[in-house]
Every structure is written in structure tokens, then in C-alpha cells.
Symmetry: none
Subunit: 229 residues, 2 copies
């Protein structure tokens, strides 16, 4: 249940625009592409964006003007400029409007990604959700505080129990690959960690056995699967 960062990208060069959109989408962002500043401004006002990337030179409305307009109604949303010029004056004009960063074309995709990451990291909200919970059959499970609400007891899970159960729950009714799980939880899928995992599966089965409809089933040679009937 992870919300993706939505980005508003204003770029009149169709090729570059689509290239960037595809790249950023592959990196897990929601990217809305606008052909020019006017369209971008409309889109900004009709939807919610966490991040803006504006080409400086565009028809209709250039990037700087667009940024200035947006800054009047939102003085916080991060704005990154793409500019073909490399003159210092331009850079400064962008910053004084309230840009957060700029890239001079041509630039490496990875650098763009790095800068977006750097900026969004700072603006992230401090507290992540601690109140998230799942229902496994009739049993309430709170992974963030590692609690399992059983019929007549609230069981505290250990780190490993919790990591494993969280993966099972996230992949409910799907096979949880044995090797992948070992690498995720134990860091290495060697023999002993495998045995250790089997021990933890036994613990979890015992913890969940009060609800008959829950089953952690083994898929021979593949992994485990949490099934709730």
C-alpha cells in the first residue's frame, strides 16, 4: 500500500518527454507529461503533484513563468528546471523564483533520478504509518509494532518472526519463494539459514493455530504459502 510520487513533467520536445516519462515510470514514479507551460499549469491546478520538472524553453508559457505562477499558489512543491543554457544568470533566475535544482542538457538520466531522490528525501513526512494492520482470518496483525492479537493474549513477535510473517501476509495466497525469502530475511540462502527458517515457520504455525482457517502450507521445493479459507 505504497503511494507513488507523482511528478508533473513539462517538456515540449516530444521525444525527450516520452523518454523521461518512460524512464521515471520504470523507477516507480507516476509521471504526467505536459507539452507546454500552459497545459502544465492547468494540470497542476486540477491534480496533486509531489514534484515538478520544467523545461525552461517552451512555447506558450516558458518554464520560469510557469514556476512563478505556481509559486504563487504553492510555495513548497519542489521544482527542478531543465535548461539548455549554461549561463550562470539563468541558473540564478531560476533559483530566485524558487527552484530547487536545475539540470543542464544534455544530462544523464541517472543524475536526474539522483536529484529527484535527494529532493524528495528532504521533503518526506517524518512519521511513517505505524497504525497499519492486517487481518489474518480473525487474528489482527500489526507488523510495525510486531503484535499479534490472539483470542486471549497479545503476542509480541520477535524480529525474525515478524519479518517472515510480514512477507507471508503481503503474499497471502501466493507462493513465497524460499530462496528469495531467505535472502530477504536472513541475507543469505545457505543451508543453515534454510533450517532456521523452517524453525520459524513452525513457530508461526503454532502461533496462528488458534484459527483453524489459517494454514501456512509448504509447496515442495518452492516455498511457503499463507492460505486463509
Amino acid at each position: 500500500m505504497e503511494k507513488r510520487t507523482s511528478i508533473l513533467l513539462a517538456e515540449d520536445d516530444v521525444n525527450l518527454g516520452h523518454l523521461l516519462q518512460t524512464f521515471l515510470k520504470s523507477k516507480g514514479f507516476d509521471v504526467t507529461l505536459a507539452q507546454n507551460g500552459k497545459i502544465a499549469f492547468d494540470k497542476f491546478n486540477s491534480d496533486t503533484y509531489q514534484f515538478c520538472i520544467f523545461d525552461v524553453m517552451m512555447p506558450e508559457m516558458d518554464g520560469f513563468t510557469l514556476a512563478k505562477e505556481i509559486r504563487e499558489i504553492d510555495r513548497k512543491v519542489p521544482i527542478l528546471f531543465l535548461t539548455a543554457k549554461s549561463m550562470k544568470e539563468d541558473k540564478l533566475e531560476g533559483f530566485s523564483i524558487g527552484a530547487d535544482d536545475y539540470l543542464t542538457k544534455p544530462f544523464a538520466m541517472e543524475e536526474l533520478l539522483a536529484r529527484i531522490t535527494a529532493i524528495t528525501r528532504r521533503t518526506e513526512t517524518t512519521d511513517s504509518e505505524v497504525d497499519q494492520h492486517y487481518l489474518i482470518g480473525t487474528i489482527k496483525y500489526e507488523p510495525d509494532i510486531r503484535l499479534l492479537h490472539l483470542k486471549d493474549e497479545v503476542k509480541k513477535l520477535t524480529t525474525k518472526e515478524n519479518q517472515l510473517l510480514k512477507l507471508l501476509v503481503k503474499n497471502k495466497n501466493e507462493i513465497l519463494d524460499r530462496q528469495a525469502t531467505l535472502r530477504a530475511v536472513w541475507g543469505d540462502d545457505n543451508y543453515f539459514n534454510g533450517r532456521s527458517m523452517d524453525v520459524y515457520i513452525a513457530k508461526l504455525r503454532k502461533a496462528l493455530k488458534e484459527d483453524e482457517s489459517i494454514e501456512i502450507m509448504n509447496v515442495h521445493g518452492k516455498g511457503f504459502k499463507l492460505v486463509v479459507k
Copy 2:
């Protein structure tokens, strides 16, 4: 009570260091100058800074290593690199560590200022980071003056208690890495410092136990995590 943004500047070139310090001070910043990365790391851990400027090439501990150490205990504080090289690889190495920006020497003072302003603009109004105080559940905590406002007492924290709690609070709901914390607070992550840290965790748990919703939970083999329900 207006407090100035405090900057930690790590620069081994004494001339450039003083020049920058003087310039930034004239622009209204509090600037602490550290001769090398090791000194900077110690200063970062004993005081509070809103911004970091690190020269990449320094004796004792270089800027990238310094940033990496700091990122383990503070994933938000803005870091700007000063680099003499202009290779793209270097830039990316910086960003992947979690840098926010970089400047290639020689650079214009005004450009440095513009970048600092761009990065701090959004955070300065939102964050009450300048007038440092946190709420841990119902308990008010003022790290700068090392006070914990309990129900019927104002508890003075010792240096170590305070450093540890500050890190926990800054990383609320996230795992605070055991080794990184030891290096930050005790300078070395050997066995005995580890035991010492466990003693301090016990002290903090005792101090915070009046609020049931607060928990310092252990993540076996990884570190501790401050959770407020």
C-alpha cells in the same frame, strides 16, 4: 526568538574555509568550521546543524565517507559537496550517498548562497528544527538544552543519554543502526561500548516509561527503534 540556520562546514584548506565562513556569516548563517572529516563528524554528533557543506578531498576522513557515516544516523540533513574534480562519476557517487547538491571549484560565492537558499527555503518555515523541540508521545523533549519534560518532573539528561535519545527521535519509527549509533555517540563500535549503549537504552526506557504509548524496541542484530503508537 530568532535562531540562525547553523551550517557545518568541513574544509581542510584554511584560506578557503575562513573565506566561506566569513561570507556565510555575513549572510546570516551560523557557520562552524571543521579542518577535516573526523573533526566534522564529532562536531555533527555533539551539536545540531541544519545544513552541511563538505569538501570531498580532505585528510583523515574524506567528504564522501563523512557523508556516508552521517546518512546512517541522519537521512535528512542537507549535504552539499565541494569538489575540485568535475567528473560525472564523482557527482553521482555523492548523490547516491545522499548528497543534495554539489559545486565544482572554483565557484562563485553567490552561487553557493543561491543553492543553500534553494535547499533550505522549504524546510525553514515548516520544520521547527530551528527552535528544536520534539514531542515523544506526550513528553516534550528539548535536545539542545537536554531537557525531558515529564509529568511531574523536568529531567535533565546527561550528554550520552541526550545524544542517544536525539538519534532515536530523529529516526522515529525507523531502525537506528547499532554500529552506526555506536560510532556516532561512542566513536567506536567495540563490545564494551555496545554494552554501555545497552545500559543507556535501559535508562531511557525507564525515563520514558510514564507514557505507555512509547516503546524503544530492539531489532535483533540490527539496532533499536523508537515507536510511538
